[in-house]
Subunit: 250 residues, 2 copies
DNA sequence: CGCGATTTTATGTATAGACATATAGAGACG
DNA sequence: CGTCTCTATATGTCTATACATAAAATCGCG
């Protein structure tokens, strides 16, 4: 009765399950450098006796570490701490409307230009499509609390995304519309810096020659190009944050 | 008999193991939109009979999808396709020396300045450390095929990384040294754009006012600041690539 | 009808055992 | 000494079963 009837096991406050304990334990040793890159992790049968559990259990812990790229498993040889040859950071690029809303600022959207046309050579090159038919070209501006936040220049392949023909991009930003209506499988972001030309400066309300951060995003579904977009942000006010989390959660 | 002795199962050329087939199958339906966000994935017992396998097998497939954040599993309710609120892209930021070598270009390194000092207020703010003792301040330049590639301005907390006192940063770039000698648990990259001032322009051999891509990286071990670094790249020549991979590998 | 207690159910963790498979390392051979 | 073959072995997958746990669904009672 009352709170917490006495269970058979009677364990401490919160037991994070055995396989998670094992995973966290190994993770800790890797992250603190106790087991440096290249170090061979104890064999499964050693971990079995060390933790007093079955092989499936230690295997589950090791599999998750492998999936998270912290270790590498090789048959017959064992499991090894991976050598981090690069920093792998997760860059979360929000839909701009969602991003501005998340900041607690009021989102503004303005369609500057929207036209449908048969793809010319430039369009095809930009999309990376071989023989494209029709495309939609969109230019628009996002603002936060009335201040220009980013300008967007987008191309949508109408053959790959026929539903886009019916969308009202005056009412909904193309990024949001696409995110919610079009499934995609691959995306690539190329990040660079430019200085504002006259047109960009006017649209973003900054000085000509001011720095701008550029994101060129290409999106595909099963290797077929869907859309190409260039986002231009005032360079010093906007920052992209990429966070690396060595460990896994919970 | 010769090739491929008749096994009991007799399967096609390459069998990607059952649980992977299941995972890829579900993944495909999610990625193509057949199962949109919020859709409930068939219960484990349904998948068991659909694929004719045990529960552990379908569970393994679903667990991997959950770890990859493609689905969400809720006890008693079932497993659901996750609603992607943002684009999550993996940004691989290589060690600069490794990056240049990988491009097949010759790496050049030049230590501009290296000094040890007691942290002043600016240093402490930059590191985000409360009461810092000594720090090492480093300025250096990386080049590829003799052309300036990036300039680096770094601060290392000597209390957190005492080994750094013995490192020879004239011989080895601090980024490489740290990556190979100092374990860390968290890193944050802030990416922005600026225009080159006189000093940066001279160091990178570009015009004053030319755009530069800036990466500010902070690294911690268990919430303790280790180092803060600012990398400045010529903005139009250098691009950061962040790739999203909807699916998991093989 | 509302609400708390009970039941049901889908997932979560764990087990012991089985067979598959890649491969490091040993041994055979030239 | 190199190379080729074989074998031992660690991981990879899968099964059938068991119990734990969280929460949805239902029941029962006032």
């Amino acid at each position: 009765m009352s709170l917490a009837t006495d269970r058979g096991k009677l364990q401490s406050a919160d037991k994070p399950t055995l396989y998670k304990q094992i995973r966290i334990d190994i993770e800790r040793r890797i992250l603190t450098g106790e087991w440096p890159p290249g170090h061979r992790i104890p064999f499964e049968h050693e971990l079995m006796s060390r933790y007093g559990c079955s092989r499936m259990t230690v295997s589950k812990a090791l599999s998750e570490l492998a999936q998270a790229d912290l270790i590498e498993r090789r048959r017959k040889a064992g499991s090894f701490v991976r050598r981090p040859t690069f920093l792998s950071a997760v860059l979360k690029i929000a839909d701009i409307r969602a991003e501005i809303n998340a900041l607690g600022r009021s989102y503004g959207y303005e369609l500057i230009q929207c036209s449908r046309r048969t793809a010319n050579a430039t369009d095809r090159a930009r999309l990376g499509a071989g023989k494209t038919g029709k495309v939609i070209a969109i230019a628009c501006r996002h603002s936060a609390d009335g201040v220009p936040f980013a300008i967007e220049d987008r191309l949508i392949d109408l053959d790959a995304v026929p539903e886009a023909a019916a969308a009202d991009f005056a009412a909904e930003p193309p990024g949001s519309w696409l995110l919610h209506h079009v499934p995609w499988t691959e995306a690539e972001h190329s990040i660079s810096a430019i200085v504002a030309d006259e047109q960009a400066a006017a649209a973003l309300d900054i000085a000509i020659g001011a720095p701008c951060l550029v994101i060129d995003r290409h999106t595909w579904r099963s290797a077929r190009p869907l859309t190409a977009v260039r986002l231009l942000y005032p360079g010093e006010s906007h920052k992209l944050i990429a966070r690396f989390k060595g460990g896994l959660e919970g």
